[in-house]
């Protein structure tokens, strides 16, 4: 690495940012975040880079790496691109679990790969180093945080597939926010004698189970159905329990059955977050779906059940809609459309009620 290659990367970043300067975002946090990035890059530009020492180059190499990653996600999260219906549902979940949810914003990167749903982890020590360097050199503090989700580009409006995102938010709550499974492995006496490599594996396994159960609170067995296709009969690996194990774990949770590891997760979650892992959905009737009408949603619990009911129609060979529409592709479009409209109506009506002034009082 030398100054010239750093300059190359800086030029690339400037070019990428030029395209994003007029981006329109769906919430203030993203806009503020973007403005801070522009401010930081402008300040780096004002510095005499020719006089950068080796340490300066090293620090800036790191700063640009983080910033470039943020730009990628922000640029894929404009109003035109971001799937804001599902993101709104996930924001409801965040509000259930974290008190400072307004300081976080879910951003998405649209991937060309099918089934590439994931949470982009940003490690604490990386964030700390970045924060220290940026504050020391430019006096800038990034107070907000981005929750970075990768979503397959072709499945943006696919609400049966997008249930997986509830699982990814579970990872955020566990690994990035409360570190629940890490604390379990570190503190529970029965794991104290395990070699480090086994502890790491156990933490990964518990992390997957936590994210699965976390999602199931809101969407029941929906993610199980999808998992059983995309990871069909997958054996356990270094990072993931077997698919069968994961599916059974969620089934137990939804059925209210007890098991050792489930109890461990539930107890630790209660102690660490002061929240219960519990069923948080209330199923809506299928009547509206069957009549091809977007269901009227009354509250958040009903909102999440849209996905459960969508899956129940899809899986049932004898469902009213299956009988009405023999073409699966057409049925899939109809279900996705009804779910999407139902979600958007719910949030629009909420906002309208907040802002609406009765007719008589207008124009006074």
């Amino acid at each position: 690495m030398n100054l010239q290659t750093f300059e190359l990367r800086f030029a690339q970043l400037e070019r990428a940012l030029l395209k994003t300067r007029s981006n329109k975002y769906s919430d203030k946090v993203k806009k503020e975040f973007h403005d801070q990035i522009l401010d930081l890059v402008d300040q780096i530009k004002l510095k005499s880079q020719k006089r950068f020492t080796k340490d300066d180059i090293e620090a800036h190499r790191f700063i640009l790496k983080v910033v470039f990653n943020w730009v990628e996600f922000l640029d894929n999260s404009t109003i035109n691109l971001v799937p804001y219906e599902i993101i709104n549902c996930l924001n409801v979940v965040l509000k259930d679990w974290i008190s400072d949810y307004e300081d976080h914003s879910i951003v998405t990167s649209l991937s060309n790969k099918m089934d590439s749903y994931s949470l982009q982890f940003s490690l604490k020590n990386i964030n700390d180093y970045f924060a220290t360097q940026v504050f020391a050199r430019y006096g800038i503090v990034f107070n907000k945080s981005l929750i970075q989700l990768n979503i397959p580009k072709y499945l943006v409006h696919d609400y049966l597939g997008n249930v997986v995102l509830y699982h990814e938010i579970g990872h955020f709550i566990d690994k990035q926010y409360y570190k629940i499974t890490q604390r379990i492995v570190q503190r529970e006496p029965q794991f104290s004698g395990l070699p480090d490599i086994e502890k790491k594996k156990l933490e990964m396994y518990l992390g997957e189970h936590f994210a699965d159960v976390f999602a199931a609170q809101y969407i029941g067995l929906s993610a199980n159905h999808y998992l059983n296709y995309i990871a069909y009969k997958a054996p356990s690996s270094d990072s993931h329990p077997s698919t069968e194990n994961r599916i059974n774990f969620v089934k137990d949770f939804v059925a209210g059955k007890k098991s050792e590891n489930l109890d461990l997760l539930m107890n630790a979650t209660k102690i660490i977050t002061d929240q219960d892992l519990k069923i948080r959905y209330k199923k809506i009737p299928l009547k509206d779906f069957n009549n091809l009408i977007p269901p009227n949603i009354k509250n958040d619990s009903e909102l999440h059940s849209l996905f459960i009911q969508g899956w129940s129609i899809w899986l049932n060979k004898n469902s009213v809609l299956r009988k009405k529409f023999s073409n699966p592709s057409q049925l899939n479009t109809i279900l996705n459309n009804l779910i999407e409209k139902s979600i958007s109506n719910y949030f629009l009506l909420k906002e309208w009620k907040k802002k609406n002034v009765p007719n008589k009082k207008r124009n006074k």
Binding site: K24, S26, I79, N80, Y84, N291, L292, I293, P294, N296, K324, Q330, T333, I334, N337, L338, E340, K341, S344, N345, L348, L349, E351, W352, N356, N359
Partner: protein
Amino acid sequence: MYLTKKEISKLIKSGQLVIRPLLEDSQLGEMSLDLRLGTDFLLSFLGREVNIDATGRDRTISSFYDESRRLVGESFVFHPHQTVLCSTLEYIKLPKNIFIALSTRSSFSRLGFSLSTVIQPGYCGCLSIELINTGNTPVKLLVGSRIIQARFFKMDKSSNYLNTNRKYICQVRPQISKSDGDSDIDILKSMID
């Protein structure tokens, strides 16, 4: 028979006519229902091909349109003579014996917009509307504003919208023309082969 406010209101209350969301009761006038501009748009643009080929022989029609989204309350600019496909904010399900005629509200006709289309009995979905600003000046509209007027007509007999294979059903955002998918296109093309 042309339906009045009282009759339309009765249909809504009985659940035979579904309008979701109906943000304000005042959208229902004495003889029509106001509908709002939706959040999704398809914009025609000049691409590498010289014309849109609706004969089913060439590139798909979708390659001549760009998608764009807005939030309710944001603005959207209609440039002169550009075809913009949009949809109503409201998802509607019509009874089997009621059809509606759509037109732009007079306030918006005066800005240069025009629309005249009929929606069949039993239709369900957001209504696709093709808006063209026929004036010479770009016009900025708010997403969610009441731009369309629907008049309701009752027929003597019912018809089943789903009896035939429908190209547009339960749509929630504007759809590209499927004119090149008409079943008689192949017959027409074979006549000169």
